[in-house]
């Protein structure tokens, strides 16, 4: 099904597109009838930015690789032609790769040769594409690093990739891509492996480079936010086909294809608006008869030290005080390395704090292995990020739930209770006999949650429960978690790197940075009026697909921090736009503000009232 809207809207008839793909199909060499990509036609207007978006397995990356003739060995382009300014490209793309079309990839650390320093990497490319050698090549390498806003460019020439952060490596890859002064840049999920604040930096860099050089951009991503941010034409792919293509504004405002519409409705900020999703007003038919009373959690002075790499001590958690009210869902948000997962494990007694204590329902948590620990599992449960690894591959889903019911002697009629639990997480009775590998990602996570619910826990920690799932599935699982939380009267901790997801399910949000809580308060207040500069930056890095909601962004400097290198004073001061002298020496404590909000920031303390974020924007 082809909807040729893009070309007529964007181009006059006389223009030849900069890049065009016509009738592209990709198939297995051994099984030509099973096509991974079928009959894809796309156009990149001169200097434009084409976004290709789709869920995993949609063929978006293969389409991108086909442009460079870089398909994996088992696949081949079975039909179609790729044209640059109307001229078909020859196989092998000699003289094209790196010189007229350059490419960057998902995992910047892995796309660099670990044995090569940055300097030889860049000057090698300069020599290959521009014929410069020696000092001239090195000068050009420095210029390239400057052009991708790499701080201390000359000093980086002697660095190895493992000495740089993910964001810095992606900058180096982009610098390498610019070495041949290409007219088109292909970016295959360029920010997926990066933290949200780094993602914002890289997307801004790409936009600036496009503007400076008049370079065309083909951007492949699973994330509508990224596409909306960077592309002006969008193609939506599903199962190897383009289902819709349109200018970005039109696609996001008026999606034509039902698939596009359903995906857009799954993006967390839009979640509540979608009527298609299940209502949270389900009757509590599956509530256990002896409905448990919710209990709260209290952590005091919680710290966790890790001895990593010999004698380097890593402060994963640094003196956290926190109270979770009975029946409350607390969201915990932060970037990688902030200590949020360590925090979650401590809260359910799966790890031992170095200092501080935790009380659940007024009683201290049992941590050592043994009878008491096993009994405490009836109270505390955890849901992990990767459901495939936490389900036993050799036992059926039903068997694993019944095992738990029997161990804790929950009920005599384990069979029907198991079916009730499956129903509570929207699985069918037939799923009971399946094995983990026979289920989809979303179904697996539902099964994990059903098993956790089997003990009728009072407290559940959800550690990134949806980040391994596709967008459309994410929304359903989030909805389901919100639903069971009401029905099972749970006290919950919901950990995620995505503040949109956290905000949707949580009553309160705690924002973590380098092992500390920097801000905590009611979810909507934090989301709409963040006070801490880090929370503001996190929110500003959230990419919206709604053109009306675009805002000016406050982009953080620098990289996500390394917990092994704790700055003095306020841990956030090296990246903080409002850092003052005091921040470098004195660590701010969490201070109570209005509306039961707490913020750990000297700058906020000084202000009389928090400014309203959206009003200011």
């Amino acid at each position: 099904m082809q909807i040729p809207t893009l070309s007529s809207a964007a181009l006059t008839a006389a223009d030849t597109p900069q890049l065009s793909i016509e009738g592209l199909s990709v198939a297995h060499r051994s099984a030509p009838q099973t096509q991974q990509v079928s009959d894809v036609s796309l156009i990149l207007p001169a200097g434009g930015a084409l976004g290709i978006v789709g869920e995993s397995g949609s063929g978006k990356s293969l389409t991108c690789l086909s442009i460079m003739d870089l398909l994996p060995g088992a696949l081949k382009q079975s039909a179609g032609v790729v044209r640059l300014h109307g001229k078909p490209l020859a196989p092998g793309r000699k003289g094209i790769r790196g010189r007229r079309i350059a490419m960057i990839f998902q995992d910047p650390g892995a796309t660099m040769n670990p044995l090569r320093r940055i300097g030889p990497f860049l000057s090698g490319l300069v020599k290959l594409h521009r014929g410069l050698t020696g000092a001239a090549a090195e000068a050009e390498a420095v210029r390239l690093l400057d052009s991708v806003r790499m701080p201390a460019a000359r000093a980086r020439l002697r660095a190895y990739p493992h000495e740089l952060s993910g964001g810095q490596n992606q900058r180096v890859m982009i610098a390498g891509a610019l070495a041949g002064d290409p007219e088109i840049l292909l970016a295959d999920e360029p920010t997926t492996a990066l933290d949200v604040t780094t993602q914002a930096q890289i997307l801004d860099l790409l936009a600036e480079l496009r503007a400076e050089r008049g370079m065309g951009l083909v951007l492949v991503s699973h994330d509508f936010g990224v596409i909306a941010e960077a592309a002006d034409h969008v193609a939506v792919m599903r199962a190897g086909r383009v289902v819709e293509k349109a200018p970005a504004d039109r696609l996001f405002s008026f999606p034509q294809h039902p698939y596009t519409a359903s995906l857009l409705a799954s993006i967390p900020p839009e979640l509540g608006r979608a009527s298609a999703l299940t209502s949270r007003k389900n009757p509590p038919c599956n509530r256990p008869s002896n409905a448990t009373k919710a209990i709260g959690l209290k952590a005091r002075g919680l710290s966790r030290l890790f001895e990593a790499r010999g004698r380097v001590r890593v402060h994963a958690l640094n003196g956290i005080d926190l109270t979770v009210q009975p029946g409350e869902m607390l969201g915990v948000v932060g970037e990688s390395g902030c200590g949020k997962s360590t925090f979650g494990r401590l809260l359910v007694g799966l790890d031992k704090p170095s200092s501080g204590d935790i009380r659940a329902g007024g009683k201290p948590l049992v941590i050592e292995d043994g009878e008491a620990f096993r009994n405490s599992r009836r109270q505390l449960q955890m849901v992990w990020q990767d459901p495939l690894s936490v389900l036993n591959p050799r036992l059926s889903i039903g068997h694993q739930i019944i095992e738990v019911l029997q161990t804790h002697r929950i009920t005599d009629d384990t069979q029907s209770r198991m079916l009730e639990l499956l129903q509570a997480v929207n699985l069918k009775a037939e799923h009971a006999s399946r094995y983990a590998h026979q289920l989809s990602g979303g179904q697996r996570q539902r099964a994990v949650i059903a098993r956790a619910l089997a003990v009728e826990p009072q407290i559940v920690v959800f550690d990134e429960p949806v980040s391994a799932l596709d967008l459309s599935v994410q929304a359903q699982v989030i909805e389901m978690i919100a639903d069971i939380r009401d029905r099972f009267n749970l006290t919950g901790i919901f950990i995620s790197h995505d503040i949109r997801v956290v905000r949707y399910v949580s009553d309160r949000i705690a924002v973590m940075y380098l092992g500390r809580i920097v801000e905590i308060g009611p979810a909507d207040d934090i989301y709409h009026a963040p006070k801490h500069p880090y929370t503001q930056a996190l929110l500003s890095a959230v990419l919206s697909t709604d053109p009306k909601r675009r805002k000016s962004r406050s982009i953080l400097r620098g990289d996500p921090p390394d917990p092994a290198q704790m700055p003095s004073g306020c841990p956030f001061h090296p990246r903080c736009p409002r850092a003052a002298a005091r921040c470098r020496v004195e660590t701010p404590a969490l201070q109570a503000g209005a509306d039961s909000r707490f913020t750990a920031c000297h700058a906020v303390d000084v202000e009389t009232s928090g400014r309203h974020w959206e009003a200011a924007a």
């Binding site: 799966l350 599992r377 009836r378 936490v390 036993n392 591959p393 036992l395 738990v404 590998h437």
Partner: protein
């Protein structure tokens, strides 16, 4: 750092008749090993000094000895049958010892961590660094040679690989997988190990066992070949090969029979082990 024959297997496996042939051959060897006394026409030490060094029947030898006779007039066919029995038994029971010891130590290391793990893995490193043939020779030198000790020594061959594998698998399951989840569900420890971890790592251990078998066969035959393994009047494939060395000039069938048996049997085991591993890899995906 154990032998990974995975890629090689996928290349050979493309012709799966080879794998079928390997299974048939191994099945035949097991049958021969079990029923040796009923199959062999003569005893393994039965001598007929009048019929020494006779060629096989098809090469003009006497009809009763269709693989000929050796320098003491013993029937080569019967000796081969009994040798298969001995070699297969030593390899199987020996490999079983290594598997049980190695797996237990590996699992123990992963369970207890700390000092126990340090010690076990230290032993593993030392064992892995020392060529096992040399190690076996030393044990024989120090403790003398009897059949029980010999099986024990041969059996220890490869234990360090089981230990490494079991430790890795248990640790992986324990720290971030289904076993960690099972523990956090409050299941008792024995259940976590025997119901959850055990069945999940059994496949990998079985593959390791199959891959270890040919090495055990080769080691057993090697030591016997050096005259330091199975002792006469008992027979084994390595011993037959050793006996035949002096007669190679005129009596080619004497080394050919045990040599071919060792090679084909070890090859079949390797191929089956590779096949099992591939199959397991695919079924777990």
């Amino acid at each position: 750092m154990h032998f990974s024959i995975r890629q090689s297997a996928s290349a050979v496996r493309q012709s799966s008749p080879v794998l079928v042939a390997a299974c048939v051959w191994l099945g035949l060897m097991v049958f021969v090993a079990v029923f040796a006394p009923w199959i062999a026409p003569y005893g393994y030490a039965e001598q007929d000094l009048l019929l020494r060094l006779q060629p096989p029947s098809f090469a003009g030898g006497p009809p009763g000895h269709w693989l000929g006779t050796d320098h003491l007039g013993r029937d080569v066919f019967s000796r081969a049958i009994y040798s298969i029995r001995i070699s297969m038994a030593v390899a199987f029971f020996g490999a079983l010892i290594g598997a049980v010891v190695g797996t237990s130590l590996g699992a123990l290391a992963a369970h207890r961590r700390g000092l126990v793990e340090e010690i076990v893995m230290g032993l593993v490193d030392v064992q892995a660094a020392l060529p096992f043939l040399i190690f076996a020779l030393l044990v024989i030198a120090f403790f003398g040679n009897d059949l029980f000790l010999f099986v024990l020594v041969v059996g220890f061959q490869g234990w360090e690989r089981y230990a490494r594998l079991a430790r890795g698998l248990v640790l992986d399951a324990k720290t971030r997988g289904y076993a960690a989840a099972a523990r956090s569900m409050g299941l008792p420890l024995w259940r976590v190990y025997f119901v959850h971890i055990g069945p999940n790592i059994a496949g990998a251990m079985a593959v390791q066992f199959t891959l270890n078998l040919p090495e055990t066969i080769i080691l057993e035959a090697g030591l016997s070949f050096l005259g330091l393994g199975i002792q006469p009047p008992l027979t084994s494939l390595g011993l037959m090969l050793n006996d035949s060395r002096n007669y190679i000039l005129l009596h080619w069938w004497l080394p050919a029979v045990p040599g071919a048996l060792i090679f084909i049997t070890a090859l079949s085991m390797s191929l089956i082990g590779d096949g099992l591993r591939d199959w397991l890899d695919r079924s777990q995906r």
